[in-house]
Symmetry: C2
Subunit: 209 residues, 2 copies
């Protein structure tokens, strides 16, 4: 069985949404991101991944895949019939990769990560300088579209949904970008998004960062 | 003809290396990253891409693809016979995506970007805190390997080569990680890496950041 290592409401939420969308059963392991311990067993998470970061998707053979941009494509490709990613070779597959990269570099690593992990206020402020431009790029793209790529929900939407859910706690109010607020509302109407968020919000209450 | 918008020695160098490896002819446009002007014509780069960032790969139909993680895969797939990326559907394709993501999030956006763009010293220091761990992960992976993915050169190596070339100017001495210093020497022996770096180092002398 596939196993997903996660921290509740971290970017591994996108991987959980993707897994729920596929309907493929998986085991979920809560990893404490500061202590790097697997909560259930107390085992050392460094032994699972030298990166010490989530998501980690572990295959039956014990190999681990990291990085949402890879993990999400892997999960989508398990069920090509569901079109959670454009097929390999379709031009839109590169659009999917483009958005996975933009969310992970500009929103996550460029803004959310420094906001939640940096301890220095000036450093947080530096990371904040570009976020309005970044968010505006996504909002403009979604002005006349229902989804990031093509005509249906893809794993890029799972990733962006997670990122948008964290922008509020990071001090960015989506009300300033109606296309984004609308998009997030639509995404939150998807049953598997609701389920994933409900599970992780409950779990989040049980652990201290 | 394909067109690549670049700034000399920015991460678009990886795209140039990949294009040279394919042997596909392209036009190269130098974009000034601060003024956002295309040097040759003085035209506004914002009109090409709302992100204002390189690389931008423009297709014959005028559509633009951004983000190295997507651009490099697109270029590799133009010449599947050269194996610059594992074929779609191969397990190693996800390894390629994993490394493209790691280089762009942890090395580029997590460290090189703040080092060269942040103006606040405390902010630069915050970005620096994790770079030794990050570089060590790559070094450990390359200890018993010649390339990042599989047995041959891929576009992930083009991307990492660029990142390693910039670590020195960013204050990280690769001499501390012999597998990485060796790897970079090997990569720099590739004719197309040499050619791309020689071209961009010359061009870099002609412009002020």
């Amino acid at each position: 069985m596939l196993q997903l290592y996660f921290w509740p409401m971290a970017c591994s939420l996108a991987s959980r949404i993707a897994l729920l969308e596929t309907g493929i059963e998986a085991r979920y392991h809560l990893v404490h991101l500061r202590s790097k311990k697997i909560l259930e067993t107390g085992a050392d998470f460094w032994a699972i991944s030298a990166k010490g970061a989530v998501p980690v998707l572990m295959f039956e053979d014990g190999q681990a895949l990291t990085e949402n941009a890879a993990v999400l494509q892997y999960i989508a490709d398990l069920r090509p019939d569901l079109c959670l990613a454009p097929a390999f070779g379709e031009p839109d597959r590169y659009r999917l990769q483009e958005w996975l990269s933009f969310v992970s570099t500009e929103i996550h690593k460029g803004f959310l990560f420094p906001t939640f992990w940096y301890t220095d206020d000036a450093a947080k402020a530096s990371a904040r300088e570009r976020i309005v431009q970044t968010v505006s790029i996504v909002a403009a793209h979604l002005e006349a579209r229902q989804h990031l790529v093509g005509e249906g929900f893809t794993v890029a939407d799972a990733f962006l949904t997670w990122a948008l859910l964290l922008l509020g706690p990071a001090g960015i109010d989506l009300a300033g970008w109606p296309p984004l607020a609308d998009y997030l509302r639509r995404m939150q109407q998807r049953p598997h998004v609701q389920e994933a968020v409900a599970i992780e919000r409950e779990l989040r209450k049980t652990v201290t960062f």
